[in-house]
Symmetry: D2
Subunit: 298 residues, 4 copies
């Protein structure tokens, strides 16, 4: 199971009444199917998974599976606080045809989650999982970071194939790559760090930004792969700006707003996440206009 | 609704097969009913609520309601990540006879959870809740702290009656008390800070430690209330040591272990939380022996 | 050497041309001599010691020694980054008649300053010091906190008599008091935590706020000592507000501004510290007016 | 003034009696002169500048100036806590023939050091400095980080030519490069981030590790410059390991120890920094042996 390239961390579209809109989700996937995205991450952090019911998660997994083109790899977010529920979700994802489980760290009982606890958790999950496990470290949300020592210990497990490191910490990424076996696949989760991370050996990225600007994210990956470093750096510069403005400053609501402007179906986030304020919308619109004056997709 | 005194944050006992043991829960409550504990907090952080299924939470709420003596106040932990689910859980708790809802902050999308977002979330919950709401700030678990400015803004809501501040930060506690209206009730959640917090006007405490050492926690409260400061300080010293050793160093597993030693039914925590190591058990046993050489309950 | 009561951490007045004004310093001390302050801390953090030359520090130590009433205890701030310079400064302070050396942690090479390094540093300083040493932990400035384990280890040294803990962390303060020998003296450095810290056994406080509001700080201490808890709590409430507004929000410039309004000589801080903005001055003036409408000293 | 390539942050050698050894310093410089290092940073963080007296700093600046080959650029660390002393040190360095002043942020009064304060400080220093100023952000030591917004504001000053960012935060580095004018030069200070930072447009690096392994650091830079990415990545991997083991785990004492093993004169650090423990020495020696089995320089 090779995980190279760019994967969007899919957003979850909600209808006016607040329910999940599977129609809008499929609409987005049909558009994404036409790009060179490597695959999809379903019900990850960007998918507002922590705001969904179990039934909603199940329905989304089914719908995304149906709408995804055959050549796209399918990764399901299955991490829960309890080990048992993580295993249950992972088995269900496998049953539904997902090929990889993206398992975030548990994160509530932080003082108790010492390295040995995290390692025992992941080993148990990997033992029980019918599909390969991708570790997921996202300290800006969880307050828990997987450090190279733990990652390297877990890389020995035959069913743990890599990590999505969303910390934005390229030093940690490069230490992980240097210390882990060559087969261990490191993907990053912060758009501004994709290019420097590819430079030190990361395989690709799982990005919220790729929901809104899939072509640009894919272009960066392809330019890097072909050794066009000058052009890659240009696209990288654009993604650094875009990522700061859209993802860092406006969050999921920002990603969804830009999706709406570009022909995808973003919609509003679920409470407690609030919609954008007018001033934020204005800044995003101006950025988009500067980005593609003649070619506004919508 | 006056919330003075000491409330244990009840642990959730699990049977050998890992299922919730309502029998053990009721056993504990029958013992607690004979003390001067002011009431009970059910499915809070210490209750491993984030590791329970919805059905389990429901069963625990029902069982605790049944077993609790009539004179004990009943508080249910109802905070979830999504506003809608928090409201749903709160309504359900009210339906089952709970008198107060303890609502922890949402905590996953930290960069998005600006003060305005947290305030909007709590207002919405308080608007919809049939019972009074107690704010709950527990940054050591959530990475999100409610600051005096937000708390004071929320204190204006007629259905928000107070806060459980588990930060251990007495400076924040005293700033909150000084700035909020006198009717706003502040309880603390760290045993080592109960006595200094009472000194500056806190009404009481919700404590994991009170599951294991209810008499001592109650004694501190009563001694303070009666102005016996010298003796209060002695009990305080003991609780500082106990809290560090049992709660800070050994976590929920430590609380449960001490419960087992003292005639309550603690049992093991649920994964990913691990059982104590032998060396930890030894230190806890030694501490208990020094505490009550002649009167080991078990 | 008993260190009970309230000590102001003296500010350093600067003349119009930016040089140290020993005249203004002595003016302040003559006023403070008439209060029940227990003594003075000279060239501590509030004294902008890190912005002074060696010659200036020496001149201030001499001038304060001369101006201080005989019944006031004299404490000199002598902590420097290097162990050798700390010892040199400590010896010089002893030579000039200071009775206690207040020694802040070194704080530049944080990753290297493991507990063993801090312990070795303090032991070396205490071995060489002709006067008793008071540890000084002020993590909001240094990023380095002395934890109870280190403090307790250092409390065994016969020439280390106590600690000034400015962290505002009452839990750490109470853990230190519970674990250290009874003779070890704990003073706090955050005005909002004085009352709860006295409640758990602290001996007193070293406060920037006591430069501006000495009578109020002394009143809190006396009311506590005499067991007038109701009235103590009232003064405490006032100091919580004052400390937040003056010290936390406006810093040394705020303390100096309030001193100027109340008949002391505050003046401006040294660069890079900036003077207050008009809006800050206005809020401080309003607070003072509410505090003592009839009795504005200036 | 173009600052490309690798600069060692020179260590300060001490003689047996603890005094500065200018002889050893010159010995090291004579060896470094034979490499392709771009120049030298004198009395920076690695030079234990915060542990030196003013007279020692002056003597070191003079000696390094004398010993440095003509083609090496000379940068002096001149940042102090006070603005006035920073300016004084900067002028003195210029007088002694240094071409660039490396000015770390002030860092004691952290709560007061808001962006506006840092910007005012640097502008004042740059106004007064006879030589170009290089900003210096090293949050692991100072607890203060310069963020892209402040850096970009300061980049407008004609006498501020760039920044040494030692945070190890490549995301911040790349955001700075994308936002600042193209003439603004970004150097990094963490060996593990040199290669990914060069990839996104950094000009070079100022490294403690370059005191111990100058050839390897220079090799990385040259391989990158010539587009030999495969080989660059190999050297990068080696530097990631070396940096973690020598600099992160063993600090300045580790750098000095490795220097001693390789024919330079390292010696011991000054207190409170402690010498290495035997176990650390053993690990460093093993690493060096693996690094260059046949060619141990000493």
């Amino acid at each position: 199971m090779v995980l190279s390239g760019i994967f969007p961390a899919l957003t979850t579209p909600f209808a006016r009444d607040g329910s999940v809109s599977l129609t809008d989700l499929k609409h987005n996937l049909h558009l994404y199917n036409q790009t060179d995205l490597a695959g999809y991450v379903v019900i990850g952090s960007t998918g507002e998974s922590v705001l969904l019911t179990k039934a909603e998660m199940d329905a989304i997994l089914v719908a995304a599976r149906e709408a995804a083109a055959k050549n796209k790899k399918l990764i399901a977010g299955t991490g829960a606080e309890s080990t048992a529920e993580t295993i249950e979700r992972t088995k269900r994802a496998a049953e539904l045809g997902y090929e990889v489980a993206l398992v975030k760290t548990p994160y509530y009982y932080k003082p108790a989650y010492k390295p040995s606890v995290l390692i025992a958790h992941y080993r148990r999950v990997a033992d029980e999982s019918p599909i390969p496990v991708l570790l997921y470290s996202v300290p800006q949300f969880t307050g828990v970071a997987l450090e190279p020592a733990e990652i390297v210990a877990l890389a020995e497990h035959p069913n743990i194939i890599g990590i999505k490191d969303s910390s934005g910490n390229v030093q940690r990424v490069t230490e992980t790559i240097v210390q882990a076996p060559p087969s261990f696949q490191v993907l990053v989760g912060a758009a501004a760090t994709v290019y420097p991370s590819l430079a030190v050996g990361a395989r690709g990225a799982i990005l919220a930004l790729a929901c809104a600007l899939p072509e640009k994210c894919v272009a960066l990956y392809e330019l890097f792969r072909q050794g066009h470093h000058e052009k890659a750096r240009e696209v990288h510069s654009l993604l650094v700006r875009a990522s700061k403005l859209i993802v860092s400053e406006c969050g999921i609501a920002g990603v969804k707003y830009v999706m709406d402007q570009r022909g995808y179906r973003g919609g509003l986030p679920r409470l407690p996440l609030l919609p954008l304020q007018d001033e934020q919308k204005k800044r995003l619109s101006e950025f988009l206009l500067a980005l593609e004056p003649a070619a506004m997709r919508a």
